[in-house]
């Protein structure tokens, strides 16, 4: 059975509001939904960033003088939850995925446009609910991991709101994942082979598989946890005969793949950006595809490396250490592919390129500490210290957030038809890069010397290094100012970019910028070689 779509009678042209109002509507256009995800995510990034600033101000002195200890716990819980579930996951999957994937597969929209809009509109209410929980009886205090028995014994209302909010966000994520899988596998235009897809499609396919397989487990776990909190059951409560380690297993069965849900799309995006600005084909396309799928498979069987201090038996430690070390292989392949893509290329030093190179540097550092953390003897020493904090910020901020900014610089002309100011962009990069490394590099030292994470007070001997770290955080906060100025100025009076300012070959650039409502006037172009830079141009035939 087939479904026919009459191009004259789509929803977008009749009842949907036009102009900026459409960003506040239940629009079914994948491009509008992508921008909704991005802007909504960025607003939550500002909230999460303010919370991070509060944390660093508190940690500038060894005593808890800026805020009471329980407020500190609430702040760090909200910071983690907002940054993961409301900024990185929705933006790096939802925003760029929705905007780019239909272009890449040569479609006019996602496979299930209504489901897509529902998935987005679950996010703002659950995010507001989460933030507002601070004003009820205090927000959740158990960290973003919500480990019992802590999450059972801290005030209930905040924790329950946290659970409901994460359940809604998980649902949104699953709907998005289903949509991406269907779009990439089923909605490709005729003649487009899987191995001709731009790399971001592969990354999103892998990510969506992880979302669909692991997020429901988190949902089930949180339902059980909420029973423990409100119905007095004892699934995870040792006092009532329950088992806390089972919670940890179920939680990390989602939350380790969640790391790849956050970072695999960034791998895809950087693979799109580097070839364009280095004017070279992406090195090792096939190995890239297989390493993404390798990471997906391995990512599902390494979760217990978060639990080496939870009484894991020796065979489990051995298995999960080896499996985790194996992940370094596909990740290393990707790293070398990016470097080889740059090698000998005609590199333009612009903001998108700088942020991508910053990503490569930060990510390899975070990756190395990740391999170190997978080794049991080392992990037992630094478990729950600032070394872990430094490691995962190098992955999610130094990795993914750098790529989010890089992508904004790269695709801003596509979305608006205007260029961003390069000088402000480079200033943004310099402050972010210095601030980021100043903030998180010293935390490795703090962790190795035994400063525990998630505690408002610390031994006074660590004060100086903590102040350096706080200075870095201040720079990171300042770095958003040139970025915001840049975006606001460029949207209003930026220089016109033309349809394809980077002379890129991937399909989204083969239509006008900004694109028409249904993506293409006439038939979608068949791009057989999305990275054919330096070769005779194959895709010149239409629509440029």
């Amino acid at each position: 059975m087939t479904i026919s779509i009459d191009p004259q009678k789509t929803n977008n042209e009749s009842l949907q509001p036009k102009g900026w109002l459409r960003f506040f509507s239940f629009s079914l256009d994948h491009k509008v939904i992508g921008i909704q995800y991005l802007v909504c995510g960025f607003l939550f990034y500002l909230i999460g960033g303010s919370l991070a600033s509060a944390i660093r101000i508190e940690l500038a002195s060894p005593m808890s003088d800026f805020m009471p200890r329980d407020v500190y716990n609430q702040v760090l819980t909200l910071h983690g939850t907002i940054m993961i579930f409301l900024w990185i996951v929705p933006v790096v999957n939802g925003a760029f995925g929705n905007y780019l994937i239909p272009f890449y597969v040569g479609a006019r929209d996602m496979a299930f446009p209504r489901l897509n809009a529902v998935a987005f509109w679950l996010i703002p209410p659950s995010g507001l609910m989460l933030v507002a929980s601070y004003f009820v009886e205090g927000a959740a205090q158990a960290g973003w991991t919500a480990y019992p028995p802590l999450s059972i014994t801290t005030p209930q209302s905040g924790q329950i709101i946290w659970i409901l909010s994460v359940l809604l966000l998980g649902g949104s994520s699953i709907f998005g994942g289903i949509n991406f899988i269907a779009t990439i596998i089923k909605l490709r235009r005729p003649g487009l082979k899987l191995m001709q897809l731009p790399m971001y499609c592969w990354a999103m396919l892998g990510t969506s598989l992880l979302v669909v397989l692991s997020t429901p487990v988190l949902a089930g776990t949180l339902i059980l946890l909420s029973f423990d909190i409100i119905a007095n059951t004892g699934f995870f409560n040792p006092v009532l005969g329950g088992n806390v380690v089972v919670y940890q297993h179920l939680f990390w069965f989602y939350s380790h793949p969640a790391v790849y849900i956050m970072v695999l799309p960034a791998f895809g995006l950087v693979s799109e950006i580097l070839p364009v600005h280095a004017r070279k084909p992406l090195f090792g396309y096939t190995t890239m595809v297989f390493s993404i799928m390798g990471i997906v498979v391995l990512g599902l069987v390494v979760w217990a490396h978060h639990m080496f201090t939870s009484g894991t038996p020796p065979w489990m430690r051995l298995f999960f250490t080896i499996a985790t070390a194996f992940i370094a292989v596909p990740t290393g392949i990707k790293f070398f592919n990016w470097v080889a893509t740059l090698w000998g290329g005609k590199i333009s030093i612009n903001s998108a390129m700088l942020f991508s190179c910053g990503f490569i540097i930060n990510f390899v550092f975070g990756g190395i500490t990740g391999v170190a953390l997978a080794q049991v003897p080392f992990d037992i020493h630094v478990h729950d210290t600032y070394f872990v904090v430094a490691h995962f910020h190098y992955i999610v901020y130094g990795g993914t957030v750098f790529i989010i900014f890089s992508s904004i610089y790269h695709w801003f002309p596509k979305v608006t038809g205007k260029m961003l100011n390069e000088k402000l962009g480079i200033l943004h990069f310099i402050i972010t890069f210095i601030g980021f490394n100043l903030c998180f590099a010293p935390q490795h030292w703090l962790g190795l010397n035994g400063m525990p994470r998630r505690v408002a007070e610390y031994d006074p001997q660590f004060q100086f290094v903590n102040q350096i770290s706080s200075l870095g955080a201040l720079l990171m906060a300042i770095s958003t100012i040139p970025f915001l100025i840049n975006v606001f100025l460029s949207v209003r009076n930026g220089k016109d970019s033309g349809d394809n300012p980077w002379n890129a070959l991937t399909p989204e650039w083969l239509t006008s910028s900004p694109p028409p409502v249904e993506n293409w006037e006439g038939e979608a172009p068949l791009v057989e070689e999305p990275y054919g830079y330096g070769k005779k141009i194959l895709n010149e035939n239409k629509n440029i």
């Binding site: 087939t2 994942g177 269907a182 089923k186 490709r188 899987l194 429901p216 179920l250």
Partner: protein, 200 residues
């Protein structure tokens, strides 16, 4: 990779490029059911781990009787067959027969739920009595929620398959096929649940 190849072939047959495409609502539903199945997998994994690691405390009661769940298993298996009959009838555009089979399937679903409630009221333990009691109620309750939703959906498509003004025809099979797949899924989960909770 085989599924990917077959989808490619289907698309090759589509001559009009963007204006028609294959119906992949069923594909989306299957993906969703895989996700739903993972929730149950998490619950089963938790239960099995408890069984292996956590001993039943002294004096705690956790005993299950077999007759009612066995009856329930038979009810659900029969209901899968009757649902299949409904689909066969719709394929031949015999809507009244479809409706008859669908109502019978929904009736079996309701009987299942009544039996389940009867079992709940006669068990010697409550939700918060001990770890295994809690897990038992959580698992069967979550499954019961699925049966409830499935029964409601069967009643809806039974209404839609009425002769005058109904949407379901042999040309528009999707609603029936979707609910049928969901119902088979719920049955399959019950069989696994029956084996793990009652027989192991």
């Amino acid at each position: 990779m085989t599924t990917l190849d077959s989808s490619k072939e289907i698309q090759k047959n589509n001559s009009e490029v963007n204006e028609t495409h294959e119906d992949f609502r069923m594909f989306g539903l299957i993906t969703f059911l895989i996700a739903d199945g993972m929730t149950f997998a998490g619950f089963f994994a938790a239960y099995l781990t408890y069984k292996a690691v956590n001993p039943l405390p002294d004096g705690a009661i956790y005993e299950l009787e077999l007759p009612i769940p066995t009856l329930n298993t038979i009810l659900l298996l029969v209901s899968s067959a009757t649902f299949h009959k409904a689909g066969k009838a719709l394929l031949k555009d015999k809507n009244s027969e479809t409706q008859k089979w669908l109502f019978f399937t929904a009736f079996l679903g309701i009987i299942f739920l009544i039996c389940q409630l009867f079992e709940y009221f006669h068990l010697p333990f409550g939700l918060t009595d001990n770890l295994f009691a809690s897990t038992f109620y959580a698992l069967t309750g979550f499954h019961g929620l699925h049966v409830t939703l499935g029964t409601l959906m069967i009643l809806i498509i039974a209404w839609q398959s009425r002769i005058n003004g109904g949407r379901l025809t042999s040309q528009n099979m999707f609603p029936l096929e979707a609910v049928e797949l969901y119902w088979h899924f719920v049955d399959g989960i019950w069989v696994i649940l029956f084996i793990i909770l009652y027989l192991l």
